[in-house]
């Protein structure tokens, strides 16, 4: 006999209590099968977020999905910064999204840029937001259908919240956090980037910095250690805990994640904040392309 005592927490199986660990906020994830069974409608929008839409969305996307192009749509075109509240409102309106819409994000590059956009949505206070676990990678592994048809979207009037700066770390936050016992930095780049062997992989020649290495005392916990290599889905909660806690990345700390341009770190930010439920996690989107280029910044190799 099976008693379900509390959804996702404890089940009673043959008179034994079995602890089932679940994500702290399972409501932020949907799987590919759910997406294939629940197409977008007036209250639910599906948005593909791509770094490279030419080799992604334009070649094929899930039916009904609109596109957010990370570089063009979510970043200020001149100053290095995310878009303003007003620009975010215009972007949402263009995508047919209102403040109450359920939005499901997915994308290329293992959802790195979908996670970045999730972070921006949260900065501007969007509540009902989810990521499709595994992104394009899993969808394609399952040979699910794509279309090249772009949806017809009626624009809306979106009202955003003022930016929640508590989700974002700036250069001075990071400088101030160095050497503090209650702050921990998570460098989610590859070990080669962390040690300064390279400043960027050859595929990204525009993303180099003048210095290689890492922020002093940062922990190198690459983003990829949080996902299952086979399909890009997030690892189970206990595996995630084992990934971070032994390195001192614990829920009692002020956690700052960074990478090279802030996209892989928003993936780890998502894991720590929503899957493990850490109360204070910030994404340092300036990341190594800011830190490693600033004159006088301390660098460890």
């Amino acid at each position: 006999m099976i008693f379900l005592l509390f959804l996702g927490k404890t089940i009673k199986y043959e008179n034994k209590s079995v602890q089932i660990m679940s994500y702290a906020h399972p409501e932020v994830l949907v799987d590919t099968e759910w997406v294939s069974q629940n197409p977008p409608n007036e209250n639910r929008k599906l948005v593909e977020v791509d770094y490279d839409p030419v080799n992604g969305y334009q070649k094929g996307h899930i039916n009904g999905a609109s596109l957010i192009w990370w570089k063009r749509d979510i970043n200020d075109p001149v100053t290095r910064d995310i878009i303003s509240k007003k620009e975010f409102e215009a972007l949402m309106s263009k995508n047919g999204i209102t403040a109450d819409t359920e939005v499901i994000l997915y994308g290329d590059f293992n959802n790195w840029f979908a996670a970045f956009v999730f972070w921006v949505f949260k900065i501007y206070g969007h509540e009902n937001l989810k990521i499709m676990n595994g992104g394009r990678k899993k969808w394609e592994l399952e040979s699910k259908d794509y279309t090249t048809d772009e949806p017809q979207i009626a624009s809306t009037k979106y009202i955003a919240q003022p930016p929640d700066e508590g989700l974002r770390a700036y250069l001075f936050d990071v400088s101030r956090g160095i050497g503090k016992e209650d702050t921990v930095m998570v460098d989610v780049r590859s070990p080669a980037e962390f040690t300064g062997t390279i400043t960027a992989p050859p595929e990204y020649p525009m993303e180099h910095a003048q210095r290689g290495g890492h922020i002093p005392d940062a922990n190198n916990i690459p983003w990829a250690t949080a996902v299952n290599d086979a399909d890009g889905t997030f690892k189970a909660v206990e595996e995630l805990r084992q990934n971070y806690e032994p390195k001192g990345v614990t829920p009692d700390k002020d956690v700052i994640c960074y990478c090279r341009i802030g996209e892989r770190s928003s993936h780890s930010w998502f894991v720590l904040k929503y899957l493990l439920g850490y109360p204070k996690v910030r994404n340092y989107d300036g990341s190594w392309t800011e830190w490693g280029n600033m004159i006088g910044n301390p660098v460890e190799k």
Partner: protein, 103 residues
């Protein structure tokens, strides 16, 4: 290993190596780039290892890393023509950003 092959000629931006059945031309600016496919480079019409480079907008572009010129159709002098064209192209690009200050 391609790395161990004898070098027949080198420039600032290329190596020409002596393979078993091919003369291999390598673009030195693409060192370390992951090979994602090997297919015909339609500009030169020989087999090439290709990778992808992302530009400022994030768009990926296929780029050849090394070309395999079959020895039964190409000798060193013919490969050198392609190598020198590549050398000229990169030298010109470098001049745009880091011109010599002779004058």
């Amino acid at each position: 290993m391609l790395l161990d092959l004898p070098v027949l000629k080198k420039g600032s931006f290329y190596f020409i190596k002596d393979g078993e059945s091919d003369i291999i031309m390598e673009d030195k600016t693409k060192r370390g780039l992951e090979i994602k496919e090997t297919s015909i480079d339609e500009k030169i019409n020989v087999k090439a290892d290709k990778g992808m480079i992302h530009d400022m907008d994030g768009i990926g572009h296929w780029v050849p890393i090394r070309w395999y010129f079959p020895k039964d159709s190409y000798d060193l002098s013919k490969v050198e023509i392609h190598a020198e064209a590549m050398e000229k192209k990169y030298t010109k690009l470098r001049e745009l950003t880091c011109p010599d200050d002779d004058d």
